[in-house]
């Protein structure tokens, strides 16, 4: 099966650029609405709609993740919801994961796009389960302090915007959180997904970080993870400039719009719809990885 849309010449330049911006806007909007980031939609869209090799799709997606993290993350940092210390502590493992994932993708897996196409499937599966699972563990105020967390002064408090109250929290199991978010970083570098869908439950359910702080801290820190991976792709020459640029711009616009709409949108219903869309995308990626489609 030939690519649906040939980037090299099937449409006028302005039409292709507008289409790429529109796809990234849609992915950014949906990703922001249901809280998983747009990368998980951008990669299959570029592979399946334009027939791009997954390496180029991952590179474009990672640059979009960096753009989103910088734009949305700065807002959360300004509002004081992001925990800078927790974020920077967890970056030590996610940045290593992102670097290793990207290095593997452009070296050992450089000519094995089918492996990456197939690897996308379980990631989408786990993401779908996490989206459908109504996880939100309220922080335990009587949690015993962890020695490492105390030494690094990771525990703190944040101002809940809806009530204006200061909510204290005690960080637990920092090493477990470090390990889990490191795996999320590896997935990010390999497959171009931001990793927020995995980082947030790791911080919330494992480390006892309140959901709001976990979400904003994840948004803040995935920029560094994606940057480590994006730099590998960018310097090694795996970036198609006029694909990555409209994807980055569209994704930022979409995620900012999604952030504003989140309070009013029927998020639960949309989640079911987009899990179905992801399941179809994953099946098509698997078919591509197994050689059933070109």
């Amino acid at each position: 099966v030939s690519p649906v849309i040939d980037l090299a010449g099937s449409l006028p330049t302005w039409g292709l650029l507008a289409l790429l911006v529109a796809i990234a806007m849609g992915a950014g909007l949906v990703g922001s609405l249901i809280g998983i980031g747009g990368g998980i939609f951008i990669v299959p869209a570029l592979v399946l709609v334009f027939g791009l090799d997954i390496h180029y799709a991952v590179a474009a997606s990672l640059l979009a993740v960096v753009a989103n993290s910088c734009a949305s993350g700065s807002l959360y940092v300004e509002q004081g919801i992001t925990d800078l210390r927790v974020g920077m502590f967890l970056e030590t493992s996610t940045v290593v994961g992102g670097f290793i994932g990207a290095t593997l993708a452009v070296s050992l897996l450089a000519s094995r796009s089918n492996v990456l196409n197939l690897a996308f499937v379980p990631v989408v599966g786990v993401a779908a389960v996490l989206m459908l699972w109504h996880y939100e563990v309220p922080p335990d105020p009587r949690a015993p302090p962890d020695r490492l967390a105390e030494r690094l002064r990771l525990s703190g408090s944040y101002v809940e915007p809806t009530t204006g109250a200061s909510v204290p929290f005690t960080v637990r199991r920092p090493l477990a959180g470090l390990g889990l978010t490191g795996l999320a970083g590896l997935g990010s570098g390999l497959l171009g997904v931001g990793g927020g869908i995995f980082n947030v439950p790791a911080m919330n359910a494992v480390m006892n970080v309140p959901m709001r702080v976990a979400t904003s801290t994840s948004t803040f820190k995935i920029g560094v993870t994606a940057s480590a991976a994006a730099l590998v792709y960018l310097v090694s020459g795996d970036v198609i400039l006029f694909v990555a640029a409209p994807i980055a711009i569209g994704s930022v616009v979409g995620s900012l719009v999604g952030g504003h709409l989140q309070a009013r949108a029927p998020v639960r219903s949309l989640t079911y719809l987009f899990v179905a869309v992801l399941a179809i995308a994953a099946a098509l990626m698997a078919a591509r990885g197994l050689g059933y489609v070109g």
Binding site: S74, E91, T103, G156, G223, A230, L231, S236, A245, A248
Partner: protein
Amino acid sequence: MSAPAEGAAPGSTADAMPVLRRRVVRALRTGVSLSAYALLVAIVGYAIFHTMGIDTAPVPATGGNVAAAFTSPSAGGLVLLGLLVLAITPLTRVVISLGYFASVGDRAFTGVTLFVFLVLLLSVAVGTLL
């Protein structure tokens, strides 16, 4: 371990490190704005002067290509610069944090941010070799 920065409560997410928060916000917004302007100008210019399709040849961010973006301005060169600025914006934020933690004598977080900074530099080095 240093005293809490600028009189803030120890570890308070909302109140601690206001100077670092301001610097981080400024760095992230400056980086993403510069990058967005460069990318927008480049793709609008490319759409005006290019008629069919887009150039799908991947371009590595080598020293030569970055230098050429300055000496022979083009839409592609401007996109390369915009994407490079975008990719190094989080690195800039890490450098700012490193300087901050070193200046307040927070040795643990100076080490944490130094480690992240070194991995980011390693990414550039390894990308050049691959």
